[in-house]
Symmetry: C2
Subunit: 349 residues, 2 copies
């Protein structure tokens, strides 16, 4: 039995999160009743991963609504608008965040005559629904994805698209888990994923808990292990998928996809359908977050003497659709041409 991981949950009027910045050294939760603090925790990556950020933002809205139960409806609406703006400013690349905020916004708009006390209940119910749906979506993605994996062999993943990045279960790691639980004898290669090391700190921690065999490698080793024949495919999550299939994910994913192409290996994206941004025709309109240079420098011994040098830190890159074998969603698996197959999944009621 797997000891389930739920990175974000609601308990007694508060949001409880696993502090992912402490893993793997410490497995600790922290809780807050403040929407602002939720926003700060998203920014400082106490919680990260596109779907988990979405769930955290939904609960953040529920906290903001909670604080406005005694106000006038006008003040409630203004307060929630402010909360939404604050949360929207946290991370620009993941589309789930905006999808969640819009969904709660719509709920407010279609209930203009409900009083703030009842609205706060409604927002919480919606947040709980978003969380439950995400968990269910992940399990469905796992089921679809597991079918695509070979009966045995090495599978590469990059960054963390596991339980910690979602409401639970995970997307790319959910696929690995489902395959493993089906009896497929996979061996995972987990890129450490510089600069933030989410692969090393989070994916390896999750795989270890689930007792799925794995090897930690640096990002620069994946090509070598493909050349040696140890890796048979790669599967990663996505933070935003454009209508044509171009996919933004953690920096380094594009390189993984190119390595797969060069070695004739499949490269899969696993993501909830809500990750697909139909308003975004292709990857060129996905904003790429430039993060703090300290994330790169902090592990360099003597990096504090490098104040004056240029350090780049794009948090994500865009993998053009031509490198993607299939996109595994909770509505099914989309194959190229993605502009057609994703549109078809969209029509599923």
């Amino acid at each position: 039995m797997v000891d389930e991981i739920y990175p974000v949950r609601w308990e007694d009027g508060k949001v409880v999160m696993i502090d992912q910045t402490l893993l793997p050294a410490e497995h600790k939760e922290k809780s807050t009743g403040s929407c602002n603090e939720v926003a700060e925790w998203i920014e400082t990556m106490v919680v990260r991963g596109a779907p988990a950020i979405g769930v955290a933002a939904a609960y953040g809205m529920a906290l903001a609504a909670n604080d406005l139960r005694d106000k006038s409806r006008d003040d409630f609406d203004k307060g929630l608008l402010k909360a939404r703006d604050r949360l929207a400013r946290t991370r620009p690349t993941a589309v789930n965040l905006f999808w969640v905020l819009n969904r709660i916004n719509e709920l407010i708009e279609i209930n203009p005559h409900v009083n703030p006390n009842e609205m706060a209940d409604k927002v919480l119910t919606e947040a709980e629904a978003i969380r439950d749906e995400d968990l269910k979506m992940c399990m469905t993605i796992g089921k679809y994805g597991a079918e695509l994996l070979p009966d045995e062999g090495g599978v590469l993943t990059h960054c963390n698209a596991g339980a910690l990045a979602t409401a639970g279960y995970g997307t790319a790691v959910g696929v690995l888990r489902a395959a493993w639980e089906m009896g497929k004898k996979i061996h995972v290669y987990s890129d450490e994923t510089r600069p933030r090391l989410q692969g090393a700190c989070l994916t390896c921690w999750e795989l270890d808990r689930m007792k799925i065999p794995f090897t930690m490698i640096t990002d620069s080793m994946a090509g070598h292990f493909m050349q040696k024949g140890n890796i048979r495919l790669a599967v990663t999550g996505a933070d935003r998928v454009a209508a044509n299939g171009d996919s933004a994910n953690k920096i380094g994913t594009y390189t993984v996809a190119i390595l797969c192409k060069e070695h004739g290996l499949p490269f899969y994206i696993a993501a909830p359908f809500s990750t697909i941004d139909f308003d975004c025709p292709d990857g060129s309109c996905i904003p790429i977050e430039e993060r703090d240079r300290e994330e790169v420098l902090c592990i360099i011994p003597g990096g504090d003497t490098y104040d004056h040098i240029n350090v780049a830190n794009p948090g994500f890159d865009v993998t053009p659709h031509k490198y993607i074998t299939a996109i595994i969603t909770d509505r099914g698996v989309a194959y190229p041409p993605f502009s057609e197959s994703l549109e078809k999944l969209r029509e599923i009621p």
Copy 2:
């Protein structure tokens, strides 16, 4: 004027090295009169980089010879054999090390009747010649390589093939330096080069001293900057080049070469001619050193809780010749087919 960097030098009967494990935080030298200590310093990467290891090994032999001046010739020979074996066990991938040890061995063999005192002088003279030749070779490589660089634009390098990796001046970084000194407006992208971070700690430190404009990136970012058009070519060193052009270099070099191919960019190797191992028909016979897992784990926060997990740490990978645009040596530039062009360079007296 550039403040020249000489990582290994001989001074008053001792070997003096810049302690590269302290850079960029501290620029400090340490000295030793013991060949064993030189071997340890090669193992612990006080000195690293194939040509610099060769120079260090040559001086290590000179130290061993120094200690045997008063012995019988038989004991001298036995002592030097022991020193050679010790030095040969330090790092298996770089061919320069073995080339240097063989060269000193030959010197001993062709002088069977010279007394140990004179032999020790001969060994030191040979070591000094190896050092001087390496420095001259690097400057020649720089001159040949600079011609291949565009008048402006981004150039990627991986690991450190700079002054610190050689007797001075550098191979791949020597090419960048020569181009910059010719007035070419290049901008270097320096991969940090996990796990040991030689790019971040050494190449960036060198580029900074030389005031060549550069940006530090993680290994996972190179693809992204090629996709954006910021990088126009890549140049790296090599630890061993097979007769067919297959080149072993720091782990991650193979990925850089594939990224270049996919983006239609040239990928150059810059290395002294002595790096070419004609006894090695192709990359499959180059031994790849597996290094300590702690090198990977030591920067992972909480990595000490990972005692039981698998961590891979191949120090090098092999880039097949088909990905290499040209090999820049001190005897000239070799183009494909390398089995012919390298052989032709070999015939140059």
